[in-house]
Point group: D2
């Protein structure tokens, strides 16, 4: 922690702060410049939690030096993590494809999609049984029925399954049916939910919040890990900006940034990020090229009649073709499906 004093702060103010630091068992190191004095603080900064040094006389500001997340940080866990879902490994060397409809609509729909994405090479089928929707009057999902269809899809195809959860009740239901839980963008800072998926024991896919910084995202992952569940995969799905040509702005630089700051795997969802079907393919390839560990892609048997997000869903043929086109990119990136 660094304390920057105001210009021409009197020595008495500096001495007072040094005294508080030392009384609390930390060390203070002064750098006295012509205009400004700065105080380097060495020791456990939690001891200063309730001191609010930024309110002391003549303090200009406090600059934090270390991140608050620990278990999610590469600094304390230098090797890449892998996350196992059944026998499937998410992480370096593999490229994980999660594909399926935005929302589970019927058993037939889900099974037909599961078969199709399996054939094209996906290892997971995704599908929403609990849909967080902006309006209370929009379709909110089939809930437990949807989960049951997911289990059926796994049984028939052998695919791993992933479903978003939005409450403790949804978690309790989902753990019985699916292999991996997803925390959606709107719930990235629903800390209660983070603790609960942490306690569930299931691997968790944690989507980035609509306007979450990378630092907040890794702190959200820390909530899950702190409950004893290290099996967290991050998912970049676009952030909110002023641009309206795409639904969100896919932040692919998040991939190398996360690789630098954290050891957790990261996948990319170009479907929700862009909201436009024809942009999904180019950005899927880009995600692989910049080091993503996987992709989440919306596929629908009949996008023109999807109950949710049809405009960004690929048809079976389009998904087949994209998977074929991506093969060389996946290989170039040193990964295997």
């Amino acid at each position: 922690m660094i304390i920057v004093m105001k210009p021409q702060a009197p020595e008495s103010s500096v001495r007072q702060i040094v005294r508080i630091i030392e009384e609390n068992g930390l060390e203070a190191h002064l750098s006295t410049g012509k205009q400004v004095t700065i105080i380097g603080v060495v020791g456990d900064k939690n001891k200063l939690t309730n001191k609010n040094l930024e309110l002391m006389n003549d303090v200009d500001r406090i600059v934090p030096v270390t991140e608050t997340y620990k278990q999610a940080s590469r600094k304390f866990h230098p090797e890449d993590s892998i996350v196992k879902v059944g026998s499937h490994i998410i992480g370096p060397g593999t490229l994980t494809i999660m594909a399926g409809p935005c929302a589970v609509e019927t058993e037939e729909q889900l099974l037909s999609i599961a078969h199709a994405v399996k054939k094209a090479g996906a290892q997971f089928v995704r599908g929403g049984a609990y849909k967080p929707r902006t309006s209370p009057y929009s379709f909110q999902g089939l809930e437990e029925d949807g989960l049951r269809y997911m289990a059926k899809a796994k049984e028939e195809t052998g695919l791993n399954t992933i479903c978003e959860v939005i409450s403790a009740d949804a978690i309790n239901a989902a753990v019985k049916y699916v292999d991996m839980l997803q925390v959606g963008a709107r719930n990235m800072q629903n800390f209660q939910l983070l603790r609960e998926v942490g306690q569930s024991g299931k691997p968790v896919l944690l989507k980035r919040g609509l306007s979450a910084t990378i630092d907040e995202w890794l702190n959200a992952a820390e909530y899950i890990i702190a409950e004893g569940n290290p099996n967290v995969v991050l998912c970049e799905r676009g952030i909110r900006t002023f641009e309206t040509a795409t639904r969100n702005t896919l932040d692919l630089s998040a991939v190398p940034v996360i690789k630098s700051k954290s050891h957790l795997p990261i996948i990319v969802d170009p479907s929700h990020a862009t909201g436009v079907r024809s942009y999904v393919g180019p950005l899927a390839k880009a995600a692989v090229a910049c080091g993503a560990d996987g992709l989440m892609i919306e596929v629908h048997n009949d996008p023109e009649h999807a109950l949710s997000d049809g405009a960004q869903s690929l048809t079976f043929d389009q998904f087949d073709q994209l998977m074929a086109e991506m093969k060389d990119y996946i290989q170039l990136a040193g990964r295997k499906l």
Copy 2:
């Protein structure tokens, strides 16, 4: 709903869309320009939910004409709403001041603050018993003990009380102790929580999400009202932008925008918005001047030792002075404390 066709869309594509619209019991009105044809759709658009017309051949885009929220809209409820909390009225003619610490820390702390803000003219004491914090290692609140101290503060001072809730458990506890529930910015689209506060029967203060549009905010209010609870007050508390001189960017234009689009009362929280104590006063006055129905202001007996957000909290003296300075502004705005 308006459908904008691509330039030079063939007549056959236009006809196909008109057919679908009419088959579903709606009317289609064509405007055929030199470059572009547009189709006005008249009727209940929910009948087209699963048609995804934006995927039809030669459709450029769909422009929605009506908002999805109804009960929160001024269009369907032209008079200003008032929200009663006990005998206190929030809405036109009054100016509601909610003041208190960010977090409840001890019984003594809360009581001393409650007495101070009561004396200065506040009608509510606020205080967090459940604190959503970015890091799992930060202070998370006293939970039910904090709520008990709130009840005690009400008993001693007669002030109304308000507390943030972050889960079904917190709601179940809070309804026993406090007068009004708060949904925080991070939970503005925690739809499960919105439904639960809607069912609680208590008046609700709904903070705007960090990057929520006004349209999303009113849809979140709609979730609460749709559960049969019309007692919703909105709270503008700053949005996330690129600017770093303040913690968030207080969007005071939200006040007249909400007044134009909705009938719900709106209050302003300049403390969380700016994160800097010396900016609170000027923006509190500005909020009153532009038509806000109230203010939420952080006050602490000892900001230098607050466990949370000390830097933005006013001391008792500062709050006293601000209340004195605001009196004329409140009167000018045609309101009463």
Copy 3:
């Protein structure tokens, strides 16, 4: 300047950096923590310009301690500045109203508006003769003819005049006709133009860029002052965010922030910020209440036929009424028209 080393940086890396700092005539102060070493650098940091210490081995990041602007900073000029335009004073104690059309359209239009805003109490007539427009096919202004009408309006009404300039040619013309030059939001970082208005000798109104931080804005002011022209007034006119209910998001917290960081006067333009006529009045009052030194407001004789920005312009009657309503707010703020 503070250098934060990576965790567990070897002593040799720290020593190398200290050596470079000292070889360049500065001092290095070490704070060696358990995890991280930080190095406080004391002395003229310009001596390190081409050292790029952030690229040295084991450096995590560099934290600047002082701002790059000096003459615009309150730290080096503690008293509020005033800017004189003719005999009119912009700054503490006064409230300056600049009113007029977005674009000068005809001599008759401008004169009729000038008379009307004069009568209502404005001290400046504003009007664009050079209009920066998103599309090359939109109306671009009357150029020198527009300036001539401005001079005529001054002659007839005695009002001060202000006009936006967008190039060296426009400056050369404008200095002959008007009292104050305006640099628009899109040109806030057109550094060539900033130097040229600096050299013009005329007082300058510097609008904040669409996505400029306050730090960048004050650095832009520094460009003007560094040319020997201290007569700079800042103008907050809304920043670009994700919100679409208003054209931009008016950042009124910029008023107290500027007052804290700088000595320059600041005025507010609620017309361009919101783009909606009915939001102008509430935000104008709010700007006065939070300490602005003035307002820029669009007024038009016939908004329904304005060539530019009619939707946000007030009619004469609306402006009269707003001026009447603002009188008490101006007095409360301790200012005079």
Copy 4:
């Protein structure tokens, strides 16, 4: 153009608007819904420029249907454009690499870098002779001397040359020495400069503004083309968001969006976008994978002593290695260096 009326707008208001539309020689098409009437307007909307229909009684809002740019639009120019610089072709089938220092510092520096990037496969050397800098006290470039060194670099290596211009004077100098002019992000809406580079006859690289929408960016290109200069190449270089882990947020979705809306070539600058050397490589590959026509990459002989942007510059070895790694990606994308 579509006019959306307010709910329950009286027929008289609708009739008045229809009358104005028809009086101006356009057609009005009504869609009268239960709640809302919409009016489709067919014809040349410029005839309504000064009508400001949004101010008419009972109008809710106006929705534009067509873009304002024409010559930059794919709708009116369906085939991909190519831009020739000397004998080099920028556009489909090629992958153009522009590499070099942020700022030209000395003749020796520039020549050594030019030889290195040529050897590694670049076709352009870039280098700033006029540097727009936030602070007036930062290094501002060597100006005409810098341009002379660029000409020397071309003479020695045969590389094409590109330089940013910031004023009419800079353009007049640059056209004598370099092959292509660059308009920087801060000047994207310096419309005077856009017109001047349009008149220069040189090919132009137009960087996206820090917070420019894609629509504004294409309108800026339209300014250049409207002066008779169709040789415009776009350059995505990151937009301003709330995220601070990278200097800007590289918006790679802009590549497929531009390909969809425009026929102009687009290249990507990962160096300025991220500001961090180790993120450049992954994002360069991603740009190629999603369809970019080229890359602009900062390379420096001695990044640790660069006068500007050293932290994001690659060394010769790093650039060599990146070019080697990109070869397969370039081939996969169906392009040639």
